[in-house]
């Protein structure tokens, strides 16, 4: 089965989890283009979406090769159902207002940065190279989301209220990111401390309380998603599925 000679601990499912996080995040960020609060932010969000999409393409291509049944990035992106997607729940949640989008990006990039940093030193050279490239981009995403979280949290009363609500609503979805998986190239459980070290100072500077840990929905990695993902995929896949086998 494993004909590429890659170390056995990089599984197709693990790569799909990473790739789907990036792809679904890119799809949501792309929805902002033409609707952002400032032109500069249209540019920034499109730029971040492009980075995430670029990482997704590399990861899905690798997953397809490792799987070895002839599925390329497009077959994996456009021809899997929501029950086959492996992304975390956080990235599929609707964009909401700008505060919600920034809180989502803050949590995602605060998780991806230590993740990609650790993966860039892992034994699987192909995965290490992808992670090494993505790490540099994600550092920029974290910076961007952090600066906005601070501006909104410590801006006006209205922006503080919205930013606080966004952080509180999304915090429970961060639990899933760190569910232990000792067989993975990098066990997510070990990343939580670095995630908190990225997020807590931002929240403090933004004058926002760090929400308490409690209810924490999971299921994304097993293909058990929220009701939102199926709609996202219906839109993303509609044209590709309407023309089976076509080249674009």
């Amino acid at each position: 089965m494993n004909t590429t000679g890659a170390p056995v601990h990089t599984t197709v499912d693990y790569l799909l989890g990473l790739g789907d996080d990036a792809l679904v995040a890119a799809q949501r960020l792309g929805e902002w283009v033409t609707a952002a609060p400032e032109l500069e932010e249209d540019v920034a969000l499109a730029n971040i979406a492009l980075d995430q999409l670029g990482a997704a393409r590399l990861l899905l291509s690798y997953a397809g090769e490792l799987e070895g049944v002839g599925r390329d990035e497009d077959a994996l992106a456009f021809l899997r159902t929501d029950r086959e997607y492996r992304n975390c729940l956080l990235v599929e949640l609707p964009n909401g207002d700008f505060a919600m989008t920034m809180a989502k990006l803050l949590f995602l990039s605060a998780y991806q940065l230590p993740l990609y940093t650790a993966l860039s030193g892992c034994a699987d050279e192909r995965l290490a190279a992808i992670a090494g490239k993505a790490r540099k981009e994600v550092a920029y995403h974290l910076d961007h989301a952090g600066l906005w979280t601070v501006r909104l949290g410590d801006g006006t009363e209205e922006s503080h209220r919205r930013m606080r609500a966004a952080v509180e609503e999304l915090w429970p979805y961060t639990g899933e990111l760190f569910v232990a998986d000792p067989a993975a190239p990098v066990d997510p459980a070990g990343l939580r401390a670095a995630f908190l070290a990225n997020v807590e100072p931002v929240l403090e500077t933004a004058t926002l309380p760090r929400p308490a840990d409690g209810w924490g929905p999971t299921g994304g990695r097993a293909g058990l998603h929220t009701e939102h993902l199926s709609y996202l995929l219906a839109e993303m896949q509609v044209l590709h599925r309407a023309h089976p086998g076509a080249r674009w």
């Binding site: 929805e31 609060p37 393409r57 899905l60 456009f78 700008f98 922006s159 076509a246 674009w248």
Partner: protein, 356 residues
């Protein structure tokens, strides 16, 4: 008639247009090296004479130079309209980002729409050198008091429309904009050099989308042909009304803002497209389109200018939708911009509050 601006032979591709952009960039540098005509300190120089002399010597007018009020106003109107077109033009293509049929196409489209926002930013910055603020210009757009290109009031109904916009709309934009790389106002000419380089890349990508579709399944070919059928005349109309009806032309030519007439540029565009449509394997929807040996150019059917006027005055298929979308983005983002201002004000206050 056009000063030192001899038409460069065009090989009929965007590559040829790109050569013209590069030639304009070289000319811009050469003019800077030559230096401007000096003023004679012995005589009391009339600023109008110096302005005319600069234009005559193919030197650039810069923001601090004296310029006739009408020149300033014409440029503000034209650059603002150009900037607004980039911003509104993000919508018809942005409409397909979520549904692009492959990840590669999605990435290319995202990058393109991002470039357009960037072009809007360069152009607003160029307009600001004329003493107007971007906020004022955006207000005028949202109030319907300044225009944007009529083409963006047409809907993108299929994926092939993204290809047709790249090939025809960006193609028309480049043909229109390449001469602006030699425009007499320095900040505008320099912005156009940057923009044209990226646009020609976009045009090639649109052409590639259509080429793939035209050589794909019968359904894809039909999709490509339908898109070209719908975008051909709106693209021809982008060059504006025929020369006899164009109100701004003569003065703009004398000022070297505009360097060719609407009809000359439209002809250049038709000749370029005919050749490319042949390679694409698609037809242009004009039964009277044919080579005219005596003119050494194609005869073609003019677009419906009554329709153009209706669209410009607000009654095209998507005018209301495009402006409503822009207004909604502006209104929905107001609290974010206010927050950024409040945050910046707090930080500034802290800095001044620090004891010396």
């Amino acid at each position: 008639m056009y000063g030192h601006d001899f038409p460069v032979p065009d090989d009929g591709t965007a590559g040829g247009l790109l050569d013209q952009v590069e030639a304009a960039e070289v000319a811009l540098r050469a003019a800077a090296d030559r230096g401007r005509p000096g003023t004679d300190p012995a005589t009391d120089t009339d600023p109008q004479d110096y302005f005319t002399a600069l234009i005559g010597a193919d030197q650039k007018i810069e923001p601090r130079d004296w310029m006739p009020e009408a020149y300033r106003k014409t440029l503000i109107r034209q650059i603002a309209q150009h900037a607004h077109s980039e911003i509104i033009g993000m919508q018809p293509e942005g409409n397909w980002i979520s549904r692009a049929p492959s990840l590669k196409r999605k990435a290319i489209l995202l990058a393109k729409v991002q470039d357009e926002a960037g072009h809007g930013l360069y152009l607003y910055a160029a307009a600001e050198t004329l003493g107007v603020s971007r906020d004022e210009l955006v207000e005028l757009l949202l109030a319907g008091r300044q225009k944007y290109s009529s083409i963006f009031n047409y809907p993108t109904l299929t994926w092939a429309d993204v290809g047709a916009i790249g090939w025809l709309v960006d193609g028309a934009a480049i043909v229109n904009q390449v001469p602006l790389c030699r425009c007499s106002y320095g900040p505008y000419a320099r912005a156009m050099i940057r923009i044209c380089k990226e646009e020609s890349f976009h045009q090639r990508q649109g052409y590639e989308i259509l080429h793939t579709l035209a050589h794909g399944t019968p359904e894809q070919h039909a999709m490509a042909q339908d898109a070209v059928d719908r975008w051909w005349y709106p693209s021809l109309a982008m060059f504006g009304p025929p020369d006899g009806d164009s109100t701004h032309s003569q003065q703009s030519m004398a000022w070297k803002i505009k360097r060719f007439s609407n009809d000359e540029l439209r002809q250049r565009f038709v000749d370029m497209c005919v050749q490319q449509a042949g390679v694409l394997g698609l037809t242009l929807p004009d039964p009277d389109l044919r080579w005219n040996e005596s003119r050494q150019a194609h005869d073609y059917t003019q677009p419906d200018y009554a329709e153009l006027m209706r669209v410009i005055s607000g009654d095209g298929p998507c005018n209301r939708q495009r402006i409503a979308h822009r207004r909604r983005a502006d209104a929905d983002g107001a609290w974010v911009r206010e927050a950024a201002e409040a945050y910046a004000a707090k930080r500034a206050a802290e800095r001044t509050a620090v004891p010396a």
